[in-house]
């Protein structure tokens, strides 16, 4: 999968300001096809509706957190191939390992710039392109 500007993103965060930030950064990188969800549970509903190609999710959220969302995605046959980029404020080793174990495609620490995001996305696209 190349970095298609039409790639449909789902941005998951309970803080609407944060969703807006991520949406704006994605827009800066040329990705304008973005939908939002307020927590893992809502995200899952939207994902099950189909059509999404990339998930960018926060970790800490009420109802269903990002890690559970990731685990659920990986355990759902229809969704398990979706790239998932985890966003978190933490750069703790345990967190990174937990994300990797759960099958995250990448990991980005807040706050980040469009440049960092682009780099992370690039790596993921590259990897999925190979697969």
């Amino acid at each position: 999968m190349a970095a298609d500007p039409k790639t449909r993103f789902l941005v998951v965060d309970d803080f609407s300001t944060m969703r807006r930030i991520v949406r704006n950064l994605l827009k800066e990188l040329g990705f304008t096809n973005v939908d939002e969800a307020e927590d893992g549970a809502i995200a899952l509903q939207k994902l099950q509706g189909g059509g999404f190609e990339f998930v960018v999710t926060d970790w800490n959220m009420p109802n269903m957190d990002g890690l559970t969302l990731l685990q659920t995605i990986r355990a759902t046959p229809a969704l398990k191939h979706l790239p998932v980029l985890m966003i978190t404020a933490e750069a703790k080793k345990e967190n990174i390992i937990a994300a990797a174990q759960a099958g995250a495609s990448g990991y980005i620490v807040k706050p980040f710039t469009a440049g960092t995001l682009s780099e992370k996305l690039g790596k993921i696209f590259e990897k999925y392109g190979q697969a």
């Binding site: 944060m18 404020a89 807040k110």
Partner: protein, 624 residues
């Protein structure tokens, strides 16, 4: 204007959202004091700080990030059971929350926050390192603000993890604070205020100016935007669409009628279209009004924390109970209610309820309850602030008011219990001789009265010695539409705000008595002065007033003498732009097109006061 060029929108969004979040955190903190082990609460509070931190990072507000990060870590350890919530720790947390709020204030003014008070940071760090559980080394607080941990190579890590082997040497090495990633947003470090011994808060006092000012500025910034449920906006859109359709129908009917077609069918259609328009327009007015309505809970949220802090400061045990948070109130009104409610709650906690020992001595539970309640009653919103404290004595209040020269002995004698209690709302009244730092300056209650009156509302006080006091605030649903009573002087109608009207009664000239040189009427035991509207307006008194309107403002009750009535109406107030005659609040148009002045009773009465003794005008009043 600011350190946030290009980010103003983002900043506004962040502040609004983060503010709500922090209010929520504040309330949960108060709850947490009661149930310190509640992991749900701990999680929510943790997440609150965490979320604020995340947003602050993008705004480069590094000081806010630091403060939130430390607090968040504290909660992380609390929820993991690595730390125990002591009351000292609670104080530290409360200070930190206040610090966060102050920083929001600074952000609201478009400047990067100054570092938090050193004592807060130190206290947090001490708490974090104080009782470290061996298994989990404390994260190094010193580097957190800028700490960007050197990230491991993701692919390698992932491969390692998926290979089910986590290499022992897989270490996320802590790099020195990386300047590149450290958000430094033009912050000028300012020497932190010296830590006071044991971190006693310097910012605790209500008199803390900078914080208060910051809050005010920020409030002003927030006034311009409003969050509206999209379904309500859709409704407005729908209705305006339908009105458009009805207008088209009317246009076509007009063409028919002008062309001479006026058979009964056409007229019937016209009648229908107009009726429909009538319905739609009132629906539209309602819907538009609803977009301005906000649940009052947003305002109430702040108060448990304020009550708690104050009670602690005074050594009292007080619980603030909220009710009716979902009651919806006009947005502008919510803003104007904030100050009066704070005063009333402070008053209840400070003067209303007793010290635990006093309560125990009279057999009351040591914990006092203060209830803050909102509910809608008809076209009014009623706010209730009730305490179960010692109550007030009408006798003592009257005596005090006379002593302070606020009223004369004679006036005092004509006051009933309810009127006497209202005296505490007068400027300069305060029954506590020793003025406390909190609410004993005799200015607060005056502010309450003025602010509520500005909203066309009224305040009523009830009290029972030994049992407690109740403050009842009654407010109109909205400021845009004012229910009025139309009274007549000769043929000229005038509009009076209906909120001030208690009842209408015929004036029986024989029943008029003279008390202290004033014409008065006794209504169910209450002695009320009779004031003629004609006299107030400076009109010639051609006939004796036949009817009286029993009116009540916060400071006085009286009977307004008028000739007759023309009914009630919902007035849409238009202000007179360039000139404003004294005593006129605005004008409105009646359904027949007649223009009517809406009277400002308070101003009219104060004008009367300027002629010297307020009884003077009435004394010359030519009744019999």
């Amino acid at each position: 204007m600011s350190d946030f060029a290009g980010m103003e929108d983002l900043l506004q969004d962040f502040l609004q959202e983060a503010h709500d979040l922090l209010s929520d955190v504040d309330n949960k903190l108060v709850e947490l004091e009661k149930t310190p082990e509640d992991t749900g609460l701990l999680n929510d509070i943790f997440r609150g700080f965490h979320t604020v931190k995340g947003g602050a990072g993008f705004l480069n507000a590094s000081e806010l990030v630091t403060l939130c990060h430390l607090t968040e870590n504290l909660f992380d350890r609390l929820r993991n059971g690595e730390l125990e919530l002591t009351s000292e720790l609670m104080d530290v947390i409360m200070d930190a929350t206040r610090g966060v709020r102050d920083m929001f204030g600074e952000l609201g003014q478009g400047v990067q926050p100054q570092p938090a008070d050193a004592h807060i940071i130190n206290a947090l760090k001490a708490a974090l390192s104080g009782e470290v559980v061996a298994a989990a080394p404390a994260p190094e607080p010193a580097t957190v603000a800028a700490a960007h941990v050197g990230e491991p190579d993701w692919n390698q890590l992932q491969a390692a993890v998926n290979g089910e082997v986590v290499p022992a040497e897989l270490v996320v090495k802590e790099s020195a604070p990386a300047p590149a990633s450290a958000p430094v947003g033009g912050v000028t470090p300012v020497p932190a205020t010296p830590p006071s011994p044991f971190g006693r808060r310097t910012s605790d006092r209500p008199a803390n100016k900078t914080a208060a000012q910051a809050r005010r500025v920020e409030d002003r910034n927030r006034e311009n935007t409003i969050r509206v449920d999209t379904s309500r906006l859709d409704q407005v859109l729908n209705l305006s669409g339908e009105i458009g359709l009805t207008k088209n129908r009317l246009t076509s009917l007009r063409a028919d009628i002008i062309a001479g077609k006026n058979d009964s069918e056409t007229l019937h259609a016209l009648d229908q279209a107009v009726s429909q328009l009538d319905l739609l327009v009132s629906d539209l007015q309602n819907s538009v009004m609803k977009t301005r309505m906000q649940p009052i809970g947003r305002l109430f949220q702040k108060y448990p924390r304020i009550a708690r802090d104050l009670a602690r400061q005074l050594g009292k045990d007080v619980e603030l109970v909220l009710a009716g948070e979902e009651t919806e109130v006009d947005k502008t009104m919510i803003e104007d209610l904030a100050d009066p409610l704070i005063h009333l709650i402070r008053n209840a906690v400070d003067h209303g309820v007793e010290m635990p020992e006093e309560r125990a001595a009279v057999g009351k539970p040591t914990k006092s309850l203060v209830r803050l309640e909102a509910r809608q009653e008809g076209d009014h919103i009623v706010l209730i602030i009730a305490d179960d404290g010692k109550g007030m004595s009408a006798e003592r209040i009257r005596a005090k008011a006379v002593e302070k020269g606020l009223i004369s002995e004679e006036e005092a004698n004509t006051l009933d219990e309810r009127q006497s209690l209202s005296l505490i709302l007068l400027p300069g009244f305060s029954t506590k001789t020793d003025i406390s730092d909190v609410s004993g300056r005799g200015v607060g209650m005056d502010v309450v009265k003025t602010n509520i009156q500005k909203l066309n509302g009224s305040v009523e006080i009830r009290s029972e010695p030994g049992k407690g006091s109740v403050f009842l605030i009654s407010l109109p649903l909205t400021l845009a539409i004012l229910p009025v009573l139309l009274v007549l002087l000769g043929d000229q109608p005038f509009a009076l705000p209906l909120s001030l009207v208690r009842e209408i009664l015929p004036i029986d000239q024989d029943k008029i008595q003279e008390v202290g040189g004033r014409h008065t009427l006794v209504v169910r035991g209450e002695v009320l002065p009779v004031i003629s509207l004609a006299k107030l307006l400076g009109w010639p008194q051609n006939r004796k007033p036949e009817y009286g309107v029993f009116m009540q403002t916060a400071e006085r009750s009286f009977i307004l003498g008028v000739d007759s009535f023309a009914g009630r109406d919902d007035a849409v107030i238009k202000s007179l732009e360039d000139f404003r005659p004294k005593g006129v609040a605005g004008v409105t148009t009646l359904s027949n097109g007649q223009i009517v002045l809406i009277l400002d009773m308070k101003e009219l009465l104060s004008d009367m006061g300027q002629h010297g003794d307020s009884g003077l005008v009435v004394r010359h009043f030519d009744f019999a």
